[in-house]
Symmetry: C2
């Protein structure tokens, strides 16, 4: 499937589009994409997915077969479908650079474009930005929980589909992971790729030590041996036997891998046995049911583990598998707009985030202000697209990784802890608040048909 297909959208985007087209609603709209509320197990979010979103906006077109399908549904006029064939995104986008930490109500992306362009992209834009941001945010928590450790993304198989698997590897890497087991991610973005062996490999051999020796001969530069197929401590003995054989062939065993049970307790036993046998050069790698909490436990108990594979719980964001992420109209035809449904109110107008820091660069608070207010701190949203074209080449992942690391350094306590913290202070500027009141007042005057004014 071509991930840029415009039909990957909700039908209502197209029905609204026909209405806008029919009404001539082609004035400029400002939409902002933001998260309403953090999951209880997050103190911050980390931006990812912007590059994929820009790729989509630059290349999205209706294909002939898509237009044929729409015609067959008998829902749309032929003239509208002819117009759809010419649809392009030619708007402006301002966004948080990937690797930027942000908080609820802060726009991570703002679209300024003629209404029919700005509206149609909603479904896929949310879809492209939510998931990488979720994974990057959780991966950053893993990095904070296990500082300096080698962390590898291992979760392709249980990610929700192919795009998810691929995108998770990139998001984890930009958050500070050392690499991924996903080979396609390695090819696509030159992310370092890690791998060991599966239980099935050991099981296919009649003797465990022979499996180890054969594997090492085939992959002499990267010998990591999985020792928990049957019994861990018996597995260590098999490794020691294999290591002796391999040493005569100048092949070194780099590490053993634990993948089940209490890997902390096992690692201590395994470390002791390896050291006792004079094999302190063999490291220990652990995987299996890991997430940031388990990493913090293992690091806290000083488990002798050199690297971790973090899989399913990261790529499915198991403790918070979705965000209250929305794409909301803030202004149309120069007039600010605001939704007031219970519990879903939004701040109107095109906005900017100012980040206010102390002298050391440590963050004090953010300020949600209008885009054209005088700035009170570092503005976080930057121009990334003008007239439907990127303003700059895509950033390298290394640049994004450095930004993430700097941001995580500047994030103060208690937001860098795994434990839930009170909300990071985001002040709403007086101008934004005044605007919200004005919009409400205007709406009350314009809609005299509600029960407040029963005829």
């Amino acid at each position: 499937m071509d991930a840029r297909r415009l039909l990957l959208t909700d039908l209502y985007q197209l029905t609204m589009l026909e209405a806008y087209w029919r009404e001539g609603f082609t004035a400029t709209a400002v939409f902002e994409l933001f998260v309403r509320k953090l999951p209880s197990s997050r103190n911050f979010l980390l931006t990812a997915g912007i590059e994929a979103a820009l790729d989509y906006l630059e290349s999205a077109r209706f294909t002939a077969d898509e237009l044929d399908y729409l015609a067959r549904t008998n829902r749309f006029s032929a003239e509208f479908l002819r117009w759809l064939a010419t649809w392009r995104f030619e708007g402006d986008v301002d966004a948080l650079p990937e690797g930027t930490l942000f908080f609820p109500d802060e726009p991570m992306l703002r679209v300024t474009a003629p209404m029919p362009q700005a509206q149609l992209i909603e479904t896929r834009l949310v879809n492209l930005l939510q998931y990488p941001t979720m994974v990057a945010s959780k991966a950053a928590r893993c990095v904070l929980a296990a500082p300096g450790r080698t962390l590898v993304e291992f979760g392709a198989r249980r990610a929700h589909g192919a795009e998810s698997a691929l995108s998770a590897a990139r998001a984890a890497y930009l958050a500070g992971f050392s690499g991924t087991s996903n080979v396609l991610a390695g090819q696509t973005w030159e992310i370092p790729v890690f791998g060991t062996m599966a239980h099935s490999y050991v099981m296919a051999h009649d003797e465990e030590w022979r499996a180890f020796v054969e594997f090492a001969r085939a992959q002499p530069d990267n010998v990591v041996l999985l020792i928990d197929t049957y019994d861990v401590m018996a597995g260590v003995e098999e490794v020691l036997r294999a290591a002796d054989v391999l040493q005569r062939e100048s092949i070194a065993v780099r590490a053993v891998r634990l993948d089940s049970g209490d890997v902390g307790a096992q690692a201590r036993q395994v470390r002791r046995r390896l050291d006792q046998a004079g094999r302190s050069e063999i490291g220990i790698f652990a995987s299996g049911d890991l997430d940031e909490s388990r990493l913090a436990e293992l690091v806290g108990e000083d488990a002798p583990i050199d690297g971790y594979g973090v899989g399913t719980k990261l790529t499915t964001c198991a403790d918070a598998p979705y965000l209250s992420i929305v794409y909301k109209l803030q202004e149309y035809d120069g007039i600010p707009r605001r939704k007031t449904s219970r519990g879903k109110q939004t701040w109107p107008g095109a906005k900017q985030i100012d980040r206010i820091t102390d002298r050391s660069g440590r963050w004090q608070h953010d300020r949600l202000a209008l885009a054209d207010e005088p700035r009170q701190g570092m503005p976080l949203l930057v121009p990334v697209m003008r007239g439907g074209r990127r303003t700059n080449e895509p950033e390298s992942l290394e640049t994004v990784r450095r930004r993430t690391a700097e941001q995580l350094d500047m994030l103060p306590e208690p937001w860098r802890r795994l434990e839930p913290a009170p909300p990071f202070p985001v002040q709403v500027s007086d101008a934004v608040q005044r605007l919200a009141h004005e919009v409400d007042r205007r709406h009350r005057h314009a809609a005299p048909h509600g029960p407040r004014h029963t005829r």
Copy 2:
């Protein structure tokens, strides 16, 4: 991204592959794909994703650019990479037809193929089968919770990527949903597509009733009006005003939509007001934060709601975003295999599931038996691929929907309830248990280097 790319895999599949190739381990392997344990909020699983898995197996090849990348990693020998270029899946697959209910430890798919073919596909096969099965299972719970109601899959935007969005729409439909909002799913599988309007459409207009009128004129056959952008009961008055205008143009308002707050309470108020105004023909459609539990509540309180849009919580499987789904070696070169890691033991051998029913067809229990044992009930796994080719044309989604409906009819209490039930009885045949003991005994003899026999 081409979803059939073989590099969408874990590196260890390729390192093991080189070892197998080098060792000449090309004998036949039997792998089974199954779920170890149900999430606490599931009493059954519903098979989906088989067709996509077969597409993958039929078409998976290494592309030239993939082989170039692998060469650049300097991890693999040139001769091995030349052999990889010829890799094809030419094995046999037996599987549960889509729309089959199944339980833990029961294989949903069995692969019989030369080891290097059977192993390489693991990562993507699990990835292709887990997610649709999860969504179909949760969607089936929604169908059981709201029997006879129109249920529409609405969750593309918060699904984890494009493939997830597309696959969720299909899985929900085969489980008994009436359709989806996802237009690409409509095009791909001719699934009925539903859509209304977004809050932004209402907000772009200065007056709510005018937004309604204009939308209806553009989409006269499908007028569903969203009434909670500002105030629900004021919104109803705007609908009534619009309905009067539209009536003169022979356009009927089909329904109103509620998308926030307590939709049950709101629906009662809205229903009363619509009826009082002589508009009983206007239905009520609800969405927003729905899942099977909320559906059961709304149905239980007899909320006057005609249809439901079920979104984020379904497409992210929010209460159970992954399964303990695994692909395990059961036999290699005619010898049964078994993993014995703590808590991860498997039943060895190529297996079949017999479903034992009473005279009315209602299920009594399942039996996990060897594939070549005499059958004691309806065998559930059927041949779907021989020699790398499908044995039959893909089933139509309508056929799968009928199977699901029949299976849900035959599923007895208490497993059809939303509340957690004790495990469905799955008996393990004597022959399987005997085989497990034999494998354990053989392994103990073959591995005399563990701590039990310290030298």
